[in-house]
């Protein structure tokens, strides 16, 4: 009886304050990402995390694939790159690929988190890519876990896709965690990028859910 009263109360609160509760549809992670470079591979309204499986796992190729796959007919940028270590190299990408992103150049982990918070709350860009790979591990560890949970709620509310690139698991509330592996070597540098992209494999990791 008491349990049902709590449920009724929760339901009433959800109806009264839908924004505070947000969209709680937990996306089911696909067993294998067939198209890792497609924006649609990542769940809407959730944080996803992409990790490298080795030293040359193709994280940059992943970004190149994303830019290559996103629509080109639209004159508006398609995604925001929050660059935690200010490491994005525009000369490594074609000009038309660069024009699809808004580059946010941060110099510290805190700046990166604040910028992500602003952009997630803004909600105008449907895809936010947060690159933390160049940031020092101790700076990332100093970020409070509560910040990620708050960001998760904001992402749920605005319904955008937030993908975090990290060298090791960083976001405690990630809905999808993907390991990238490509096994690149110097011999691959003589090939075309289109030949290298299919070598990037993305496999979802098992997540230990807190809720």
């Amino acid at each position: 009886m008491a349990a049902s009263a709590v449920e009724i109360l929760r339901q009433q609160l959800r109806d009264q304050f839908p924004q505070a509760h947000g969209l709680r549809t937990s996306p089911a992670p696909s067993p294998l990402l067939e198209k890792p470079f497609s924006v649609d591979s990542f769940p809407i309204g959730a944080i996803s995390e992409v990790l490298p499986a080795g030293p040359s796992a193709g994280l940059a190729l992943f970004m190149a694939g994303l830019l290559d796959e996103s629509e080109s007919a639209n004159s508006l940028p398609q995604l925001v790159l929050i660059d935690g270590a200010d490491a994005f190299d525009p000369n490594s990408f074609p000009g038309d690929a660069c024009s699809k992103l808004v580059w946010v150049r941060c110099t510290s982990a805190l700046e990166m988190l604040k910028a992500a918070d602003l952009l997630v709350h803004d909600g105008n860009m449907p895809f936010v890519l947060l690159d933390s790979t160049g940031v020092k591990r101790q700076d990332l560890n100093a970020l409070p876990a509560a910040a990620w949970w708050r960001m998760k709620q904001a992402v749920e509310r605005t319904g955008l896709r937030l993908v975090v690139l990290a060298t090791s698991p960083l976001v405690p509330c990630a809905s999808l965690r993907v390991s990238l592996s490509a096994g690149l070597s110097l011999a691959d540098f003589d090939r075309a990028q289109a030949e290298l992209l299919p070598r990037v494999h993305a496999s979802p990791n098992q997540l230990r859910r807190a809720t």
């Binding site: 030293p55 525009p90 540098f189």
Partner: protein, 492 residues
Amino acid sequence: MFAALCLQDFLIIAALRNHAMEGAYPCAVLEAGPASTSREKLSLLATNPAARIAGIRSGWPLHRALVRCPDLRILSRDPAAEAILRNELFLIAESLAADVELTAPDAVIVDLSGRSSPVTAALDRLTLAGATIHHARALTPDLAHLASRHPATRGKMISPADLAPLPFSVLDLLAAGHPSGKLLKSWGLRTLGDFMELPRQAVTERLGPDVGTWHDLLHGKTCRLLRLHRPPESFGQGVDFDDPLVSLDPLVFALKRLLHTLAGRLASRHLAASCLEIRLVLTSGAEWMRRVRLPEPQTAVEGMLSPLQTLIDSLKPAAPIAALRLDVETTFATAAQREWFGRQLPQPERWAETLAKLDALLGHGRVGIPAPGDSFAPDAFVLHPAAGAPSAAPNSTAHPACPVPLHRFRPPREVAVAHELRNRKPWPLALLTGPHPGEITDRRGPFPISGDWWNPDASWQRLEWDIQLMSHQLLRLVFQTPNRWTLEGIYR
């Protein structure tokens, strides 16, 4: 009815405005020629009455004019004075009627059809300092313009028949450079009347439709619409504070007041703001300026104030604020409905505010749409504004040389490298220090790159390698003389 006003000797009048003492002497304006051309061979663009009395004509080469008149004063063109003179002529014409066309740099045409009071006396009273305004009236604008160019038809209302005695060269105003003009002269036509008597159909069949148009024009059969000139309007405003501001709250109030005035002006002209420029003058004499490009044209005060307020909130001026200036770039308010197939920003005003907040958080120029630079210098790129015109970022189809994008270290990290000399070039063997020490197992390169070789102070050259370490890390290594090794980035 139309009236044409023109200034004879426009170039020389403008050039003499800054050399008033020279006006009494024979003066001429010289054309600007290429540096390789001898000055004596350049032609005279215009001459003043004193020079004409001395027998010098426009178009003469300078050396011929100097032979005729050794005291000839040579002036160069003064574009700024010409613009001022043109503006004064326009203002005089606008005092007669609102619809004015800038037909030529030295001539305007006024549409007098809406004027009820007599205009003859008003035209005769027109004066301009240091210049004589010639005028003529006709039922079509081009007839009035032609008539104002010749002394025989100036100052009166003319009909097509009045143009007949004028020399054929008057038609050069319309036919300058046209091959048919020279051909007609070679036919022996001496006056405009000779040309007007030619049968229109036959002359058009032989020489083309342009000649038919001139024929119609001289007979007063065509009356075109004027290309009305509207001078650029400034929406700039400013406030000089009696007491310099030491806090930012009063600044926001002052800014809001300016924006209210601006919104009213924009609304009355059916315009909207596309870019706001705010400038703060500090008591120390320094200025702080920032341009905020709005993602969508704005007319509401709130939409314009929000990004500006975010900027101001993050401001830490070094001295009290003595004055505030606000200017705006205008555009037409968007009246079109949203596109069905193209993505648009759901909340553009919020995007502008977010960009302003990012600007305040990260510093100016840290957010934008990147584009590869136009040089081979390391880390050369440009950052276009993320808001406003999306076409600002040019699309390039050039592909980078390396298929794997680089994760760049900014600044590059200095390392010690064990190396040997091969063919008088260093050959890296192992990284001894830095974030990724280890033996180099494979390498591509060296790739010699250099730039700015024409500038001894800025010239640079370097050798680049893509290296693979024992730990399978892929890095870009750079050597610069005399003995500087840096890691430029990592291929992740």
